[in-house]
Amino acid sequence: MNTFSIRLIRTLLTLWGVLTLTFFLGRLKGDPVSLMLPITAPLEDFERMRAQMGLDQPLLVQYWVYLSDVLRGDLGQSIAYNRPVAEVIAERIPATLELGIPALLLSTALSIPLGVLSAVKRNRPIDRLIMSLSLTGHSIPNFFIGIVLILLFSVQLGWAPSFGRGTPAHLILPILTLTIYPLAFLIRLTRSSMLDVLHQTYISTARAKGLKERQVVFVHALRNALIPVITIIGIQVASIIAGSAIVETVFSWPGMGWLAVRSIGARDYPVIQGIVLMSAFAFSVTNLAVDLIYVVIDPRIRE
């Protein structure tokens, strides 16, 4: 369990690093108030806001106040909504999860069989096909995938609505768009991991014993090949959070990513800061959980 506590400390340190980064980033140009108020705002507004946010205090005091506020779950006040940031973000989380969780499940569920098939049929036409599709998925920016899907399925065929949230049909295109990049990435990973395992001596042993190829692939190889794939699912969470900023914008889906992009126009730095923190937190916690699973399923690192 010692490896795990070291990982826990590292995670906490990383989160502290992210907190520090976003704090000083907001003050990089001196006064965060100038980021939030329009240049034409009267001087009294600037003064009032500075006092309200404690910006008349020394920088280190502000930093300390900020850290202790965040630890208490207080992410500050949104400029555009004039409500606590935590509240504004919390309202958007369900919409983001509605897309993110299906995308994560779908990409994992599709990528493993495709990756295994590709590895087993290495250099055959089916492998070439899967790998070129995966490269294509890897090379198309996700907003362009979204646009092409809208063009195809909404404009041309009229099968699914192109924007908004409400009916289950609204979910189809955004989930599909969000799935493609992690899917393409996971296929490549499963394939290379599977190829590594298929070269191991215990696979030759299993074959020499006269086991059916099916058993060799699915019982002996796949179980071991999945270990690195599981660790990557943590990274997938980050790529889905990042992808949701763009995909939610393409489909006008009112989630966290959409909120972040909208906050640029409103110069709402506290909200963006909050979203960055939340994403880093989600990512770190997932990775910690993945590490824990890793220890459970791989006895080699338990000692």
């Binding site: 980050a238 640029i264 960055v276």
Partner: protein, 307 residues
């Protein structure tokens, strides 16, 4: 001291005209043996895009911001309503899509190229120091890598763009920032193995200084990793730039970039799909070709990358 006489270096050693011919033939043989059809096509596609983009002034039929209000939303030349004056159609103010793709490509590729080089230099240097010096410095640099990789980068980019504004230098800076952790990680890993190699140990034993060991003995052994990473990151940066421009925090209109053209064309998907689709196709050709070449370089040089 420990030179390893290999076949290519014997060939490259010959001088004069016969030498050049032999070298050319050897190069051809090597190319035919190693470059698959996909790789050859990728180089061809890249050349077909990059040459007109670089010489946009010569190839472009119009000026990038020239407005032609009588020819708004004209479809591409091969359709019934199109004219070959505007081969890929026009946008809502009658600007030529092909011209804007060529000029936009300049911006996108320039940002990708410059940011890739900056990220490469910074990341390699930090990875080299991290792996060579070890100890607290190593811990600190790897901590920064961890912090950055635990953030969905596009959100960090949004925050930076909000604070610093979205000028071109900021955009290049953001793009460079996105790549350095990958370089640093991989380079550090290679340096850790190099630390124990005979030629490094030998150099140290005869009194070679740190700087000498890092530049003369380690750097040449890092070149193949750097080449592979730079190629792969170029594609990643082009994607990032287009994403940022799409979100409205990248290249600012009226300067065209592939990302902001796709973004502008999005509102006209029903009546003028070519506006968003054409620059998208150009973008995908480049990222796919670069990706194929990057994968190929990685396979033939046997470099391990973290992603």
């Amino acid at each position: 001291m420990l030179t390893n006489e290999t076949a290519p270096s014997r060939i490259l050693g010959r001088v004069g005209l016969p030498g050049i011919v032999t070298r050319w033939r050897a190069g051809q043989r090597w190319w035919r043996r190693n470059a698959t059809l996909a790789v050859q096509l990728s180089f061809l596609a890249l050349a077909l895009v990059i040459i007109p983009v670089v010489f946009a002034g010569t190839f472009a039929p119009h000026a990038p911001t020239a407005i032609d209000l009588r020819n708004r939303l004209l479809p591409p030349g091969w359709t019934a309503d199109g004219t070959w004056d505007y081969p890929l159609g026009t946008d809502s103010t009658g600007r030529d899509i092909l011209t804007r793709i060529l000029y936009g490509g300049r911006i996108s590729l320039a940002i990708g190229g410059i940011a890739s080089v900056i990220g490469l230099i910074a990341g390699t240097l930090l990875g080299l120091i991290s792996g060579y010096v070890r100890g607290l410095v190593d811990q600190a640099i790897m901590f920064l890598v961890d912090v950055q990789l635990s953030l969905p980068f596009i959100l960090l980019a949004v925050a930076v763009a909000l604070v610093l504004g979205n000028s071109l230098p900021v955009l290049v800076g953001i793009a460079a920032l996105s790549t350095w952790p990958h370089y640093a990680r991989v380079v550090r890993g290679v340096v850790l193995t190099l630390n124990e190699r005979e030629f490094v140990v030998a150099s140290r034993a005869v009194g070679g200084g740190h700087w000498h060991i890092m530049t003369a003995h380690m750097l040449p052994n890092l070149l193949s990793s750097m080449l592979v990473l730079a190629t792969l990151s170029l594609g990643r940066i082009i994607l990032l730039e287009s994403g940022l421009s799409f979100l409205g925090i990248g290249v600012r209109p009226p300067t065209p970039s592939w990302g902001n053209m796709i973004s502008d064309g999005r509102a006209f998907l029903t009546n003028a799909p070519w506006w968003a689709v054409m620059p998208g196709i150009a973008l995908v050709i480049v990222t796919m070709a670069v990706g194929t070449i990057g994968d190929w370089l990685r396979d033939i040089t046997d470099v391990t990358t973290d992603r």
